[in-house]
């Protein structure tokens, strides 16, 4: 098992992290005035590398642990690793869940196919209408590598609030489409998101966000390290290790590492302050929990979205400059991104209806004409308000 995992990790390391570590070594050497210059390779990364390497590692570990029988058919193994609906950006499937489905005969079922198509349409709406429209707002407010020289910190804050929804709709939109395509073909794929912005704590957020990756880290890194059945100090160490790896999994960049560590810090702080903030059963308390969780996740998203450490430090410096606020307010009053805000509200309303079970309990939602009209409206919204600029999914880069 160790040999197989090492092989897979080496493959991942060469393609994804070699350049990053070469840069670090060169920077350290230059800091010590050493004449040492490692070549920084620019290699084209195979599509969905981080996802299918994790999926293949999952197979090896499960077989080693005896929870999955050895697959002797190479084609079926290859199909498991590179199953096309979820190849590019997950969900990361476990062999026990996906492989048995290759053995059964799939027949046409009206209800299943329709529910798959509905999911695809909703995923498309989330990606093309919400995420890509929000991307225009976010890109205007938050600097990218090419616009790194000038930005307004207050606008960056506004931009990050929108980015939280952009990345959610971008990634969960893809996951919905992957699950939907699988369902149309008769395959059941793992649910990857469970309305994470309705979480009342950071730990709950991480049980609802990118579920397949989080459970992967839980089962293959966190629990083998001892999980929470260890001393407090060791538990904190485990949390930071898991979140640091999770950060680096997203990309070979200090910003991702900091994003991961910050999330780990929030989890640790949440655990330490649990006795001071006892959970109360009230609607207002829930709202407070959701808002604070959302804001904390946005603080972490700032590190995720900013192009480099220099721009992050500049952001904090500019935050203290009062002129930034007046400039930003003038701009926001004139050009407030109302449409983006409306899309966020639409998303929250739909998700609230799902979260609170209204969709299941309201009789009208079960009427065929209602579903038909709702999907016509959704399709027309994509036609009218979709961004057709062939914007790639954010998670494709990982």
């Amino acid at each position: 098992m160790t040999g197989s995992i090492l092989c897979t990790c080496t493959y991942l390391f060469v393609f994804k992290y070699l350049g990053f570590f070469a840069t670090i070594i060169n920077d350290v050497a230059s800091a010590f005035h050493l004449q040492y210059n490692l070549a920084v390779l620019s290699i084209i990364i195979p599509i969905g590398l981080s996802f299918h390497t994790f999926q293949s590692m999952s197979y090896v570990i499960e077989v080693y642990r005896g929870r999955q029988s050895v697959q002797t058919h190479f084609g079926k193994y290859a199909l498991y690793v590179l199953f096309y609906p979820q190849l590019v950006a997950g969900p990361i499937e476990r062999p026990q869940h996906l492989m048995p489905q290759f053995e059964i005969e799939h027949t046409f079922e009206y209800a299943r196919v329709m529910s798959g198509l509905r999911l695809i349409l909703w995923g498309l709406f989330k990606k093309m209408v919400i995420a890509d429209t929000l991307a225009l707002t976010v890109d205007a407010f938050v600097p990218t590598m090419s616009t790194i020289y000038y930005f307004n910190s207050f606008l960056v804050v506004v931009g990050i609030l929108f980015f939280a929804f952009q990345i959610y709709c971008d990634f969960s939109g893809y996951s919905d489409m992957a699950v939907g395509i699988g369902r149309v073909m008769g395959f059941s794929l793992t649910q990857n998101f469970n309305r994470p912005y309705f979480s009342k704590s950071i730990s709950e957020f991480w049980r609802r966000w990118h579920i397949s990756l989080c459970t992967w880290f839980r089962d293959y890194v966190y629990i083998p390290l001892g999980g929470n059945r260890v001393s407090k100090r060791r538990w904190i160490f485990n949390i930071f290790v898991v979140f640091a790896i999770s950060g680096l999994w997203h990309g070979a960049n200090w910003t991702f590492l900091l994003w991961g560590l910050l999330n780990g810090f929030f989890i640790v702080m949440e655990d330490m302050t649990r006795t001071y903030f006892r959970k109360k059963e009230s609607f207002l308390w829930d709202i407070k929990g959701m808002l604070s969780t959302f804001l904390l996740s946005c603080v972490a998203w700032l590190f995720f979205r900013m192009p480099d450490l220099k721009s992050i430090s500049k952001f904090f410096v500019l935050l203290l400059d009062p002129s930034q606020y007046s400039d930003a307010i003038t701009l926001l009053v004139r050009d407030f991104p109302t449409f983006s805000l409306i899309l966020v509200v639409v998303l929250l309303v739909v998700e609230y209806a799902q979260e609170s079970g209204i969709v299941e309990t309201w009789r009208v939602c079960k009427e065929k004409w209602f579903a038909f009209s709702a999907f016509l409206l959704l399709a027309l919204s994509i036609y009218l308000f979709g961004v057709f600029d062939e914007k790639a999914f954010i998670y494709f880069q990982f």
Partner: protein
Amino acid sequence: MAGTATIRAMSDVRVVSERSELRTFLIHVLAFALIFACMVSLVNLLYIQYVIPQKIVFQTNSVFDSVLLRNDSLQYVFVGDSHPYFAIDAQYISNSVNLASISENYAITYHKLRILTERRANFTHTIVLQVDPHSFRSEMLKDTSLTPDNIYFYSQVVPFATLYSLYENSNISLLKFLTYRWLPSVGNGIDFLRRDGHIPFFFNIGGDSIGVHQVPLNEMKESAVNRVSKKMSGAEFEPLLVDFYTAILSLAKENNISVILIVYPHSKEFDEELVRRNISLDSYYQHIDSMTQEVFVQGYTVLNYYDYFFNDSSLMYDADHITKEASALFSADVADRLTLYERMNQ
């Protein structure tokens, strides 16, 4: 035996039920597709009828129509891309119109002028034709010129064959090209809220707040780098554009229309970026001169405003466009020079 028969019967029932479900599914999908197609057609029709005339490129189209409706001859017609579109305020120049449109290239300009000359041979005395450092660059045929709005707009002015050749030289996909040609409303639903070219309270649908505002002075250098990279990295003289440029000059000559070439103001930073990249404007304009002399053997007039705002970058909107305030100053100066030109010709 009885067991086998039962299994076979169950299997038959399953196949029948599957077929019936498939039939229902196909009927529902067909109904959905039909209703959706009807809705899209209706929305598209409304879009073409009511929204398009309000969009800026189509405002030029209405100017185009107004030229056709006039009985008298115009003194000056300005043509070109965003540079004249933003720089020329026709109110300052008597008896003139600005027919420029954003991202317009010589192919489009030629067909605009051809349609005008075919319908009214004497529609103008003089064409003021843009010859900027990027005018012949291959980027003028790339997808920046084939934005969704432009594709539909161009289709109203140029033959489909020309439009298709523009598509072939661009980076956009055939599907996108055909979609934007026939369904201009796709992805533009927010335009239904437009009033007088603006979307009230609905900023930031397709643009960006920083990009659409004037570039700060300390960023002008960066803007110059971006603009030069974006517009002047390809071939210096794109053959198709050279052909259309010559065709414009020949068309003007055949119809006894004078041509004045004009170079629009650029920032000092833009010029510095050209120098940094070893892009020589001298040889570029020499080549244009020889092309122009082949048609206008007896000479022609050039208004060179290239360095007009070199000393005042605050009047530059970005590295190669001027602000609205600068447009007033600039148009007044162009008017003076044209008056001088008229006097010299009398």
